[in-house]
């Protein structure tokens, strides 16, 4: 097996090297990939949509269908993780651990023992592979998470003018929740951002994207042709700002979908589908 695999890989690499010799040189401005379509996009992005960052324009406007179905793919991946891993029946662990808050003692309660009340102020449940309750990590993460979310909103909103956009901002928002879940524990995170919320928000994100396109259809233009939105926004017909706002609404949808799907996949992967004890 090893020899066969190595031989396949070497033959593949040799063929690729042979054909790579015919490629245009690295950094050549007149290569075919750089000449046909992209100059048109670059020269018209300010005129058409009033968005300096041409990557955002192409992503959400010129190639809007592509991005819409990519968002659907991401949502489908979240659903696939859910259906593969989620276990509804509660397989209770052999022993549970509780911390007595006033004294800091740790209690180990065997299966069948008397458990404290669910919302008890005196006892808090901790994971069996527990990390000690580190004040430094918890408070630093509490400080950082707010700034991460603020930066994520900046990235989503400022994607027209600088690198960024819905995908990056969504992943940043998701990773802030993941950071909370790592620094505290999974159950506390699930109380603040439930799995159902994640699923619904992901669907809402895709709905915002396709709904924007559908509104354009209702206004009498093609699907995802944001110029038709200008009467709704109180702009003159043909104003490029209509396209800019359309792109912004689409980016918000992408951010919702990506954020919730990242969190959803993390919930299912980190607890092996049980939502009982996390990472």
């Amino acid at each position: 097996m090893k020899i066969t695999g190595l031989l396949t890989v070497i033959i593949c690499g040799a063929l690729l090297t042979y054909y790579a010799m015919d490629f245009p040189d690295f950094g050549d401005g007149r290569s075919p990939a750089n000449t046909y379509l992209s100059p048109h996009f670059l020269e018209n992005t300010m005129h058409d949509a009033h968005v300096p960052n041409s990557v955002t324009t192409i992503l959400a406007d010129y190639r809007g269908y592509d991005t819409m179905y990519e968002t659907t793919v991401v949502l489908t991946a979240g659903l696939a993780c859910f259906f593969l891993l989620r276990r509804k029946e509660s397989t209770s662990p052999p022993a549970r651990f509780f911390r007595h808050v006033p004294t800091g003692l740790t209690l180990r309660i065997e299966e069948g023992g008397k458990l404290p009340a669910e919302n008890s102020k005196v006892f808090t449940r901790i994971d069996s592979l527990w990390a000690p309750d580190s004040l430094i990590i918890r408070n630093t993460c509490r400080l950082i998470i707010a700034f991460v979310q603020l930066f994520a909103l900046y990235v989503v909103a400022h994607g027209h003018y600088s690198p960024g956009g819905g995908f990056q901002g969504g992943v940043l928002l998701g990773s802030s929740i993941i950071l909370f879940s790592i620094s505290n524990d999974l159950r506390r995170t699930l109380k603040r951002f439930r799995e159902k919320t994640a699923a619904v928000l992901g669907a809402i994100g895709v709905l915002i994207y396709s709904g924007t396109g559908f509104v354009c259809l209702l206004m009498g233009a093609h699907f995802l042709n944001y110029e038709a939105l200008s009467p709704l926004l109180g702009l003159k017909t043909g104003d490029p700002m209509a396209r800019s706002h359309g792109i912004f609404s689409v980016e918000i949808g992408v951010a919702f979908a990506v954020m919730s799907v990242m969190i959803w996949i993390y919930y299912n992967l980190s607890s092996a589908g049980k939502h009982d004890e996390g990472l």
Partner: protein
């Protein structure tokens, strides 16, 4: 302008030298905990010096304006967040190492 060039170049050179010492320390030190010491502490100093040089360059090169001040503020924010997060990360890693039962390296007397 020549003063700015000299100051920025000096800051960058000292910062890069500190990064070099951190890299050498990470390779040469004997065990986990002493290797994390340069990784966590000396990197902070190197970041402060190199980023400080870059921030000064962004602020004064080409005149002070709103755009250059915004660049300056962004670089200063990078330094602030590295100063908050990097020691916490080092603390967490060393904590994990202690709980995993790694023994600190000590100089053995009878060998």
């Amino acid at each position: 302008m020549i003063v700015l060039t000299v100051i920025v170049g000096l800051l960058m050179a000292v910062g890069l030298f500190i990064f070099l010492t951190a890299a050498v320390g990470m390779i040469r030190f004997p065990d986990f905990y002493s290797r994390l010491h340069p990784a966590g502490m000396i990197d902070c100093m190197g970041v402060l010096l190199t980023m400080g040089g870059l921030a000064l360059f962004a602020l004064f090169d080409g005149g002070i304006s709103l755009a250059s001040f915004l660049n300056f503020a962004k670089i200063v924010l990078i330094v602030v967040f590295i100063y908050i997060t990097s020691p916490t990360a080092t603390h967490a890693i060393i904590d994990a190492g202690m709980r995993a039962g790694l023994q600190p390296w000590t100089k053995k007397k009878d060998m």
